[in-house]
């Protein structure tokens, strides 16, 4: 019954949107812009979606465990399960878009070497930039987060294996949350000019 209602609502919505597409001012404006601007807006929208869904996932996943000491259940679990696919899609897109710009490069190597030899950094922001790269790649531990949960959806592992995957999911989630927060903090600390200058060659 629910399935039929869902299908009817979805078809009605798509039909309504199709016949009234010109009335969507935001979409019309967006369609009128250049391809580069369109891409930029999609990119920032995806980032926001990842951030928001990630926050929802972190709250629904970690809070019951931290506050109640119990695994999530009920509507918390439903929200977690419903939001997760959106987050996964977002992370997937973000990783493809941002991987190149977050590569460890010669500057990072120099920064690392300077740090190890305890010499003053050539640029005050280069240290933060190294952290920024590091946290980005740590966030891509998402692959463990996803892998652990998708593997436990198949009848491949016994209780011990399932328990291991659940714990792996929890640990990966914690690491990603911390990395995400740290990444946002580092990103906010770096001036826009620095980021722009640094990535100017890449955008050429």
């Amino acid at each position: 019954m629910l399935r039929i209602i869902g299908i009817i609502i979805t078809i009605s919505l798509i039909g309504w949107m199709f016949f009234h597409k010109k009335e969507f001012i935001v979409i019309r404006r967006w369609l009128g812009r250049s391809a580069k601007t369109q891409f930029q807006s999609v990119r920032s929208a995806v980032v926001w979606i990842v951030a928001i869904t990630g926050l929802v996932l972190a709250l629904t996943g970690l809070l019951p465990f931290l506050l109640l000491g119990a695994p999530m259940s009920g509507f918390t679990l439903l929200i977690h399960v419903a939001v997760a696919p959106v987050f996964i899609a977002g992370v997937f897109i973000v990783s493809l878009m941002w991987a190149e710009s977050h590569r460890f490069d010669a500057v990072d190597w120099e920064t690392l070497r300077t740090c190890l030899t305890r010499q003053p950094l050539p640029n005050e922001h280069s240290g933060l930039n190294l952290w920024r790269h590091l946290f980005f790649w740590l966030m891509l531990i998402t692959v463990l987060l996803l892998g652990s949960i998708v593997l436990s959806m198949y009848p491949l592992f016994d209780s011990i294996g399932m328990d291991f995957f659940l714990n792996l999911h929890k640990a990966a989630a914690l690491l990603i949350t911390v990395s995400g927060v740290a990444y946002a903090f580092v990103n906010a600390s770096l001036p826009n000019k620095f980021l722009k200058d640094k990535y100017e060659p890449l955008s050429k």
Binding site: L2, S73, S95, L96, R103, D105, I149, D158, S159, M162
Partner: protein, 630 residues
């Protein structure tokens, strides 16, 4: 002087003797007797024993009058009866014994008055104490003695001593019937126990079941002044007095009898009182047995007990003798017991083990959208003579109902909706015994009980009669004038209460209208037939009975819609949540593929940039080396 010294010595000796006598444990509950202590031999102890009657007199088959053997007096020389009588099967009426988790109640059933009332001496929530409805031990034993193991309430002749003193004197106590469990003789006939208790032949009941005695007559037909030693006058042509005949050949030259008693109770002995019949199942030859019994185990391999006879009920997960104890092992030993296979539970998320009992997936009838009617030995007297074998016979026990048990886990339960006539006094409802209300009900349905009526056929097939709302109203009106009714007459049925209001029959809610549930653990199905073995949709599907079954009440009132409760109501969860969660499983296959693709691409990205990173490091290191060389 000598006399005085002698007197003093005599006095001292008397004191010493008295001291010794008083310090001797007399029938001490803590002292095991010779038969209670094992010498380590695993061989079956052979019981070639003397039989004693209730007066401790030795029985010879040629005695006149010949009396039935008393299990208490016969076993007492070697076994501590006092310790045993506190065991789980016998201690229900002991107020000091913790009630434990809810179990199978005794169900007071009367077809004519549409009564099915769960009773228990244990303080299980939802049951009624027999004393509260005026069912004294005397009547309780007669009503339910068919599956009572004796002892406990059967020996409680003090509660209704004023009214039933003479009857107790004639019938004797219903002592613990050791044979009910421990007799391995093929000729043991437990069904005779039901006949004996129904005929008030309590002291003859154990002998009636044995293979070497034959009980005749009925105490019920005897007058209050009947003397079991004198018998009836020869010219008294009334009913046959109770009597027993022994098989002479079973007594050896020493006057002893071989009784085939075993330590490990045979399954048949347990199943006489603990069988379940699924009504809607196919023919019996096609139904399955409990997987443990099919594997050759005995009931008592898990449901063990010591001398105290406090049976392992299997509900304590930390016990050695629970599902977990045998199949997973406890903290001390992970080897389990009895060679039980360790379950893999492949692909089952571990949260299931926090929320479900083992029995939820493995026990009871298979989950269906509409739980089935089942019959049980204790509820329907299965195995006794003269019962109605129709599937529709009262009491109506519904199974399986997946409800949250007292340990917080969901487990399969049996359920019975209470149905009885009573009266409301303030906020409390006092049930009326069927015997008191029967005549009033019969008055209003008399025409319906003629041989060609539908109700006659129904009552004969074990069902309750059809009652119209008018008839219920009339019966309730009549009850108002009954002298035993001291409040507003009510009829509890269909999960509601009914009383006569200004506009006719009016329904209301009350705590006593709630169904009584008790967890079940048998029959255990093998792993391949457990819930979740084929897929998640065994439970997480809108078609699954586990979450989306409806528990319906049955009602004799025509035109009243039977109440139907969703299974989630018993699981303390919201139906909408269960539906939404099940709905997510429609998309799960797609989600799995999507996540796998995402994982693959993310992994590829990571690998790609890992090698790119290596390339960078290699390039930087080469450049540094070249600069160093310059």
């Amino acid at each position: 002087m000598t006399n005085r010294l002698f007197s003093l010595k005599f006095l001292i000796l008397c004191f010493i003797n008295a001291g010794i006598l008083y310090s001797q444990p007399v029938n001490d509950t803590q002292v095991p007797l010779i038969g209670d202590i094992s010498d380590g031999s695993r061989a079956k102890p052979i019981h070639i024993i003397e039989l004693f009657d209730a007066d401790s007199a030795r029985i010879r088959p040629t005695d006149q009058p010949v009396l039935p053997f008393s299990t208490k007096q016969t076993c007492l020389p070697c076994h501590n009866y006092e310790t045993i009588r506190h065991g789980w099967h016998f201690n229900a009426n002991d107020a000091h014994v913790p009630a434990g988790r809810p179990g199978h109640p005794w169900i007071l059933t009367d077809r004519l008055s549409a009564t099915q009332l769960p009773l228990s001496y244990r303080e299980w929530p939802g049951v009624i104490h027999p004393n509260d409805i005026g069912l004294t031990p005397w009547y309780f034993v007669q009503t339910f003695g068919r599956q009572l193991p004796g002892g406990g309430v059967g020996e409680d002749d003090t509660s209704d001593v004023d009214m039933m003193y003479r009857r107790w004197m004639i019938s004797g106590k219903l002592e613990i019937n050791c044979l009910a469990c421990h007799d391995a003789e093929p000729a043991h006939q437990q069904a005779e126990y039901a006949v004996a208790t129904r005929n008030q032949n309590f002291r003859w009941a154990a002998a009636a079941t044995s293979g070497f005695a034959h009980v005749t007559g009925s105490t019920k037909a005897m007058p209050d002044d009947y003397d079991i030693y004198l018998g009836v006058a020869k010219d008294d042509a009334r009913s046959i007095p109770p009597g027993v005949e022994y098989d002479d050949h079973r007594f050896n030259l020493q006057g002893k009898v071989f009784v085939d008693l075993v330590r490990n109770v045979p399954n048949d002995r347990c199943l006489f009182c603990h069988s379940t019949k699924i009504n809607e199942a196919d023919n019996r030859w096609r139904t399955e047995n409990d997987v443990h019994l099919a594997s050759g185990l005995h009931c008592v391999d898990c449901h063990r007990n010591g001398l105290d006879h406090n049976m392992v009920r299997g509900d304590n997960a930390s016990s050695d003798f629970s599902c977990e104890g045998c199949h997973l092992g406890n903290d001390a030993s992970e080897r389990g017991r009895l060679g039980a296979p360790r379950p893999g539970h492949t692909g089952i998320p571990t949260v299931h083990f926090d929320k479900l009992s083992c029995t939820a997936c493995h026990s009871g009838p298979y989950a269906t959208k509409r739980p089935q009617l089942v019959q049980t030995s204790m509820g329907h007297g299965l195995g006794t003579h003269g019962i109605v074998k129709a599937d529709t016979v009262m009491p109506y026990i519904i199974s399986p109902v997946y409800a949250t048990a007292s340990n917080g886990k969901i487990a399969p339960h049996n359920l019975v909706w209470p149905s009885f006539w009573g009266f409301m006094h303030g906020d409390s409802i006092q049930p009326i015994l069927p015997v008191d209300v029967q005549m009033i009900v019969l008055h209003f349905i008399a025409a319906d009980t003629l041989t060609d009526s539908l109700n006659y056929a129904q009552i004969n097939s074990g069902q309750w009669p059809d009652l119209s709302t008018d008839k219920v109203t009339s019966i309730l009106d009549s009850l108002t004038n009954a002298d035993f009714v001291t409040g507003t007459p009510v009829f509890i049925n269909n999960g509601k209460g009914y009383r006569v209001g200004s506009a006719g029959l009016k329904s209301f809610s009350h705590t006593m209208t709630a169904p009584y549930l008790w967890p079940i653990a048998h029959d255990v199905r093998p792993a391949q037939q457990s819930l979740g073995a084929s897929s998640c949709s065994d439970c997480h599907s809108l078609r699954a009975g586990f979450n989306f079954g409806n528990v319906e009440a049955t009602s004799p009132i025509q035109g009243v819609r039977p109440i139907s409760l969703p299974m989630t109501r018993f699981q303390n969860s919201l139906g909408i949540y269960a539906r939404l969660f099940a709905f997510t499983f429609l998309f799960r296959p797609l989600l799995k593929i999507f996540i796998l693709i995402c994982c693959l691409i993310l992994l590829s990205t990571l690998v790609l940039y890992f090698f790119k990173g290596l390339n960078t490091i290699s390039t930087v290191l080469s450049a540094t080396r070249r600069e160093g060389n310059r």
